[in-house]
């Protein structure tokens, strides 16, 4: 039976098994590839999207669970890619290979929205689930701070 949910502001009706992870429905069925596969076990954060505005690992959320909900991927974060977190990422030259960065940005966007007066300790804790093998953490942390506080 098709599963109805909202993706980046438009209604989708997807014929997928209810236990299929949201990640693979987004990538393989809808065809949006900004959400990345990194571990398939909720351990790296590369597949982070927003479900009803909150950061979730799309590899750990089943299609059955998103029925009737609203999902935002990196492609829908801002129409022109000008979300403050995306701008901060560019201003601080965060990425190296870039593969994990869409997940990092989605995590950071959710974090900054939740905690407008975020502390450094909260940034470190909030971003610890997102692995960057290139090792861009110094700039990631600075960019989250910049997006949240302008500093």
């Amino acid at each position: 039976m098709p599963i109805d949910f909202s993706l980046n502001g438009s209604q989708h009706s997807i014929d997928a098994p209810s236990d299929m992870p949201l990640l693979w429905a987004i990538r393989d069925i809808v065809g949006l590839t900004g959400t990345k596969y990194g571990c398939g076990a909720g351990l790296c954060g590369a597949c982070t999207v927003h479900v009803d505005g909150k950061a979730e690992r799309s590899c750990m959320v089943s299609m059955g669970e998103v029925a009737g909900k609203s999902v935002t991927t990196i492609e829908g974060l801002h129409p022109e890619g000008e979300h403050p977190v995306q701008r901060a990422w560019r201003e601080l030259n965060v990425p190296q290979c870039g593969f994990c960065q869409t997940g990092q940005i989605m995590q950071a966007a959710s974090l900054v929205a939740e905690k407008p007066n975020i502390t450094d300790a909260e940034i470190l804790e909030g971003m610890r689930g997102n692995v960057c093998r290139c090792g861009c953490y110094q700039r990631i942390v600075a960019a989250v701070r910049h997006a949240a506080t302008g500093i």
């Binding site: 590839t33 351990l43 492609e75 093998r133 090792g135």
Partner: protein, 772 residues
């Protein structure tokens, strides 16, 4: 969606138009001015602004192509298209090399477009993006091509205006004549492309002071916007009509085979279409697939679920008893009886016989896996026309050659398109996954994406070797080191490519073993055999990781033993500024200097000592630190670059934290300081990970780790919090050297030395663990 590769997918009017222009050109002058000039090294022109020098790039397979007609085209609207022929995996060469060309051309970077080359080395020259070679081999050809196109534009303008070429100046995408004439590059593009390519002798080069982009570090990476908006295309992101997805159950033990299997439950999974056995390769396996059972499905989830339901009985083969602790004990025993001497300077047995004191320590490093964030992935489409591949590989032409051979196709019928790499670290210079995709596409007669899961990536990696490094010094009455003896034992990368005799080979020996730069009269570097029981490959920095770990820990231990300051002891061992004379140093005949001509890239102890001083000063060496903190130092030359690291460690409730790390980097001329800094920041994190976390262990021939929960990495809540990078400034005449890899090796020993300073505990095994 395919913003990254449109010209490869849709060869359209633009390519056709360009071919017409190229066809009008006498190509002999290109050969004369480009490749031949490089090969002969005729660079004695007194220009002062640009004096060329030979690099190892000429010896790489298919060498260097410096033909501007291959790399540059200009549209009538003035857009300059520059080909990026190296793979981008975060090091920045996709931006930095075109940036060098654009600067020398005096182009406006905002009007430059970058086109990624497919694997075609006869056309582009060597594309193997490995060994920290992109900038150091290609910075000069890029300048040469930029200067050549600038000269062609100048000549075209001169003809068009009826003036002498010397009267035409080029300034920021604009040509100016003596009488107020002015033209944009675009207006003269067609005429310029019809000019002969000038020979090297006819080129003029920018004065370094006139560089607009080179050396500034102000150009952002070309994919920055696409990366931050999810539009950047990596290996798994190319979508073809009718494409299937495959995951493969590979043998858990190297050399293992499928004895029997039952796929009935797999085929019952909705979406699963086919189950196909893939043949494994006999040893040595090279880059061939390991074999196994492939599950081909309409989507990734179905393929994964199908694989879970396979019932496979494996014949584990000859490596089924590989066990890490037992193997370590074997290596330690072997290290006491080295049987192959690689370097022998002076009289080492005599020095030890005459020694008043002998100091000896042994260091260990476990296997490691690369785990790039993007696990291996490849897409293949085999049709009656041939095979087209899209994948994230470091060496697309190598992949193309092997795919052609595997499918028995002429190489012209195979195309390998390179996407962005979601990290590489050496794993993606092995293209077994591309061959898997090609075989499966052929078998199912449809495009196939082979997706490695993270578990596959860890279980079936090309493992970084495991090693025991035994170090001994002989000292006289005054505590002066008179003899240096370094025995290295590690299964060799060569075992993946040739029958295994257990000995390491010249490339491994050149990485922190025989290239010991010490001011010691008697030096011996030798080896004892260790047969490989895993598929051994290279990981970022390769053998430099265990060697720097051992040597730089050892010197700190020696200093402590003698009651000396570590930095002073290190500088004393480095000795006076000089270049090591390989002719008198007892070096092996096959001494490997990262493939570079030694005269151009010698081991320079002055530069080595200088980075030690810079890092130590920046970190405040000698200052008294609070309780629970320590400062550690290490230095290492690799990829012909000198890097020293001073790490400050703080122990918080037993956990090892790194509040500060200083890198001093001497990489010759710094073409893109911003990406040099980012590579060092990344090296700090990867270095910390391999110091604390990265241990792959085997039992019953099988890798024991499977995902980030048991093979973890440094994360945002514990990483080198403040990394400062101090780049030693040099003019262009000091040859650019590697950056992608040389930052990693000194990190772990600097941390180990800092942990000792903080706690008094000396750790000798990598990984150290996250707590002390």
């Amino acid at each position: 969606m395919l913003s990254y590769l449109p010209d490869h997918l849709l060869p359209g009017a633009r390519e056709a138009a360009r071919r017409v222009l190229i066809a009008a050109v006498d190509r002999r002058s290109v050969l004369k001015g480009g490749i031949a000039a490089f090969a002969l090294g005729l660079f004695t022109r007194p220009s002062g602004a640009f004096e060329s020098y030979p690099t190892g790039g000429l010896q790489m397979p298919r060498g260097i192509v410096a033909d501007p007609l291959v790399f540059v085209s200009i549209d009538p609207d003035g857009t300059v298209t520059i080909v990026a022929h190296r793979s981008e995996m975060g090091q920045g060469s996709r931006t930095s090399l075109p940036m060098v060309l654009a600067d020398e051309l005096d182009a406006d970077w905002s009007r430059v477009r970058i086109l990624q080359a497919p694997g075609d080395e006869p056309r582009y020259g060597n594309q193997d993006t490995d060994g920290s070679r992109s900038l150091r081999h290609h910075i000069q050809p890029m300048r040469q091509m930029g200067a050549a196109v600038r000269e062609m534009l100048r000549r075209a303008a001169a003809k068009s205006w009826g003036v002498e070429p010397a009267a035409v100046t080029v300034e920021f995408h604009t040509l100016k004549g003596p009488d107020g004439q002015s033209a944009d590059f675009g207006e003269l593009a067609e005429a310029a492309m019809a000019e002969l390519v000038p020979s090297f002798e006819d080129l003029t080069f920018k004065d370094e002071a006139a560089f607009r982009y080179i050396g500034k570090g102000e150009v952002q990476i070309t994919d920055l916007h696409d990366i931050t908006t999810g539009k950047a295309i990596y290996g798994a992101d190319v979508r073809l009509n009718g494409m299937k997805v495959a995951v493969i159950a590979r043998p858990p033990v190297l050399g293992g085979k499928v004895k029997s299997y039952d796929a009935s439950e797999t085929l019952a999974v909705p979406g699963v279409e086919r189950v196909i056995e893939i043949a494994g390769a006999p040893a040595p396996v090279n880059f061939l697939p390991l074999g196994g059972i492939a599950v081909v499905a309409t989507n990734t989830w179905a393929a994964e679920r199908g694989r879970e339901r396979l019932k496979i009985e494996w014949d584990d083969g000859p490596h089924a008893s590989y066990e890490s602790a037992a193997y370590r004990a074997e290596m330690e025993e072997a290290s006491k009886a080295p049987d192959k001497i690689f370097r022998d300077q002076g009289d080492v047995p005599g020095a030890f016989a005459a020694a008043s004191t002998i100091f000896e320590r042994s260091y260990y490093q476990a296997h490691m896996a690369h785990i790039p964030m993007e696990p291996p992935v490849a897409i293949a489409s085999v049709t009656t026309d041939g095979c087209e591949i899209w994948t994230s590989v470091q060496s697309p032409y190598g992949a193309r050659e092997d795919v052609a051979k595997d499918l028995a196709l002429p190489i012209e019928q195979v195309k390998v398109n390179v996407t962005l790499l979601g990290g590489g670290f050496g794993r993606k210079s092995k293209w077994d996954f591309a061959i898997e995709a090609a075989r499966l596409s052929k078998a199912v007669n449809a495009p196939v994406r082979v997706q490695w899961t993270r578990e596959d990536d860890i279980h079936n990696s090309f493992m970084h070797t495991t090693s025991v490094e035994r170090l001994r010094v002989a000292m006289d009455d005054a505590g002066k080191v008179t003899g240096w003896h370094h025995t290295s034992v590690a299964p060799s990368i060569l075992s993946t490519f040739a029958p295994d005799n257990g000995h390491q080979f010249f490339i491994e020996n050149g990485m922190g073993h025989v290239d010991a730069p010490w001011d010691v009269a008697n030096i011996r570097c030798d080896n004892a055999p260790a047969l490989a029981h895993a598929r051994i490959g290279w990981f970022r920095s390769v053998s430099n990781v265990p060697r720097a770990w051992a040597v730089q820990s050892f010197i700190a231990e020696l200093a402590h033993e003698l009651g000396r300051d570590h930095k002073e002891m290190l500088l004393e061992l480095i000795g006076p500024p000089r270049t090591i004379d390989v002719a008198t140093a007892g070096m092996p005949e096959d001494f490997w200097n990262y493939g570079e001509p030694y005269a151009e890239y010698p081991i320079d102890t002055g530069r080595l000592a200088h980075v030690v001083e810079v890092a130590a000063d920046a970190a405040g060496w000698g200052a008294t630190l609070p309780e629970g903190e320590g400062l550690g130092l290490a230095v290492h030359r690799s990829f012909v670059t000198y890097v020293a690291v001073a790490a400050r460690v703080r122990i918080v409730d037993g956990q090892i934290r790194v509040p500060e790390m200083h890198f001093a980097v001497d990489c010759g001329f710094a073409a893109n300081p911003e990406r040099i800094r980012s590579q060092m920041e990344g090296s700090a994190v990867m270095g910390m990970t391999l110091a604390l976390n990265s241990g792959i262990t085997f039992a019953d021939g099988r890798v024991q780790q499977s995902n980030f929960h048991d093979y973890d990495v440094a994360r945002a809540d514990n990483f080198p919090e403040k990394v400062e990078v101090h780049i030693v400034p040099h003019p262009f005449s000091v040859h650019a050297s590697g950056i992608g890899e040389p930052g990693v090796p000194p990190v772990a020993p600097a941390m180990g030395n800092a942990i000792f300073a903080a706690t008094g505990r000396r750790l000798r095994d990598l990984p150290l663990g996250t707590n002390v």
